[in-house]
Amino acid sequence: MRGVPPLPPAGNPRGRPVTGLVADVPPPDAGAWTCPAPLRDSPTVVMGHGGGGALSAELVEHLFLPAFGEAADAGLGDSAVVAVAGARLAFTTDSSVVRPMWFPGGSIGELAVNGTVNDLAMAGATPLVLSTAFVLEEGTALADLGRIAEAMGVAARSAGVRLVTGDTKVVDRGSGDGVFVTTAGIGVLADGVDIRPERSAPGDVVIVSGDLGVHGIAVLSCREGLAFGTAVESDTAPLHGLVAAMLATGADVHALRDPTRGGLAASLNEIGRAAGVGIVLDERRIPVPGEVADACGLLGLDPLEVANEGKLVAMVPDADADRVLEAMRRHPHGHGATVVGTCVADHPGMVVARTGLGGTRVVDLPVGEQLPRIC
């Protein structure tokens, strides 16, 4: 389970007339799970529940965790770290449902492998093995499936991981949408590596590994109904080599995230809330390529909320920052590494940005789906 930060308690403190939907649709069977507070807004799953923002976090906190009960033992990182027979293993899983399945710079195949590799890497683990599970829609062209599988093979070889088990299911035409891929992965942690969001502390610097927003814009640029011309290509890449280079400096890296859905804004809010620290960004230092800034301006999106698939954000003690930066910039996936902010004791759990003009704004956890605006 991808980690999520705790949210303030849900509820209806001021007696808001909650949507009349509740009257139309039978309420969920209260006996089936113990829910400490009603899910807000909708009795059905909406797209935002998969957006990686506040709605996703709420689903986990208010539905999955209570329903799992004592069986749940999920931390807040991208991977779980479990001790097995003297070794510390990182374990994670990730489903890829990206549409379109091919986009500039990659496909659902690379994402399925690199996404799981990166979740392991964000715990400081060396990825070892992955499982692959496919849900296929009846009628999907085998040639398409073959292209996706080949992309997965190339990505796995490039990342140095083995695909060791898998599963295939087919659903009726209309019950799925082409190909969905789920991968789970196991990696191993070296002694002494302890990378968790909760370890971030006031005084840490915030480092990003390079240009932000390119994956999300590459995918949006070819999505039905939104197609627009751009030269931006997805940055999908495995990041464990970069993490290894950072750790090889001997630096005490406190926390790592790959800012995928919800972008840097979501990652930093999750870290800030988990660690109880405030984060101050210097907006002028955040690397956003011109094409991404332009597309975001056109669509009304915030580059800080746009997904990345080959970037990481690191929380590192100030004293270690220079050598970490130097090591990152020597690595092909980190040559654009730069410091974008610091952790502070003020406003714990909140991320703020100093704007280019000298003002200040809050950088919030995105709610759900990114919605292109009207004008």
Partner: protein, 368 residues
């Protein structure tokens, strides 16, 4: 595409701010009309950089925010029909109607799609001849030309399975309503540059004259807004109240002639309800007699659907600039972007959403 960074240059911004600080001798209240301007002001923290006493009042120019509840409910009713593909701009999907939003309809199987252009909706109608494709046409004079062109094309190509649910609104009548209100405390207006790029600036001269307020046609990037403010305080401090165009790179005085001709052909002026404000006479467009056959309201017989606003929502006062979003008792409590009481908390251009997103009590951005 370029010209974004150039219009956010910190050194030029500092120079404009210095001139504003040097000019201002007393408090002024300046309303930016457009929600896009509000968003830019709060996002860049421009209001924090102005002289003490210069207050920005956030105006009614958020098309999503002012779309009346009954229009949302009509869209929801149409979207729930099995034969319909309802197309909309993205940020309409989360606007609450009386009972739910379009996301809710979509999650129960309604075919709701986000498009970037209404012409994409027309294309959907061509490729799905057995379905009814409806485009939810909301917005000001900015979005209207493309919507008019779509209906014009549908008529020309004989695409019968396409229709428009129209809820267009017009800026000048709303500005007049705000300025004529007895509680109005607006000293100067920043007019919405993109509306003027379509319609021209002609409607605003008489408003400046009649209500005695300077009106500055203003763009949307940080430097555009600062230049608009500079020209506004220049006029205020020298006792003038004229219409000036501070956005000439996009706004010719006569607007876009081709667009205006098309708008005259496809639409006709009608009374329109503004969410949170009420009915404003002659403040909207509906399809003209010639194109009435493309009116989704008639085709799906949803004209009778009416709606009542939640009593707790004070978005009307926010939209008229009478209160700041965080002066509402429900702000950040019962009303958040997750649980919006009104559309001003939903749209990315809404003043309440901008405050909730970028400002919180106790953070460095809280100027009060």
């Amino acid at each position: 595409m370029r010209y974004l960074e150039e219009f956010a240059d910190p050194d030029l911004a500092r120079r404009l701010l210095d001139r504003i600080h040097a000019t201002v001798t007393r408090p002024w209240a300046i309303m930016e009309v457009c929600g896009g301007q509000t968003h830019a002001i709060i996002r860049h923290g421009i209001d924090q950089l102005l002289p003490d006493g210069v207050e920005l009042i956030h105006g009614p120019g958020c098309p999503v925010c002012v779309t009346p509840l009954e229009s949302i409910d009509r869209a929801l009713a149409i979207a729930g029909r099995p034969e319909v593909i309802l197309c909309s701009f993205g940020d309409m999907l989360r606007v609450p109607g009386s009972r739910e939003d379009l996301f809710g309809v979509k999650s129960r199987g309604g075919d709701v799609r986000v498009v970037y252009s209404p012409l994409d909706a027309l294309q959907l109608a061509r490729t799905n001849p057995d379905r009814q494709v409806v485009f939810f046409a909301v917005g000001f004079e900015t979005t209207a030309p493309a919507n008019a062109m779509t209906v014009h094309q549908a008529d020309r190509l004989g695409i019968g399975n396409f229709s428009l649910l129209v809820s267009h609104v017009l800026v000048p009548p709303a500005v007049a309503a705000v300025l004529s209100s007895p509680s109005c405390r607006v000293d100067a207006l920043l007019a919405a540059g993109h509306v003027c790029s379509v319609m021209g600036t002609g409607a605003y001269g008489p408003l400046a004259e009649r209500y005695g307020v300077p009106i500055v046609v203003t763009g949307f990037e940080p430097l555009d807004i600062l230049e608009g403010l500079r020209q506004a305080v220049d006029q205020l401090e020298s006792g003038r109240h004229e219409l000036v165009n501070a956005y000439p790179r996009a706004v010719p005085a006569e607007g876009n002639r081709a667009a205006r001709a098309l708008l005259r052909e496809v639409f006709e002026v009608t009374d329109r309800t503004w969410r949170g404000i009420g009915v404003i006479t002659a403040s909207g467009w509906r399809l003209s007699e010639r194109y009435r056959g493309f009116d989704a309201e008639l085709r799906f017989e949803v004209g009778g659907i009416d709606a009542v606003e939640p009593a707790a929502c004070r978005s009307g006062e926010v939209l008229q600039g009478l209160i700041k979003p965080d002066e509402c008792g429900e702000f950040g409590r019962a009303c958040t972007p997750r649980t919006p009481l009104g559309a001003t908390m939903v749209s990315s251009e809404g003043a309440c959403a901008a405050y909730h997103r970028y400002r919180r009590p106790g953070t460095p951005g809280d100027v009060r």
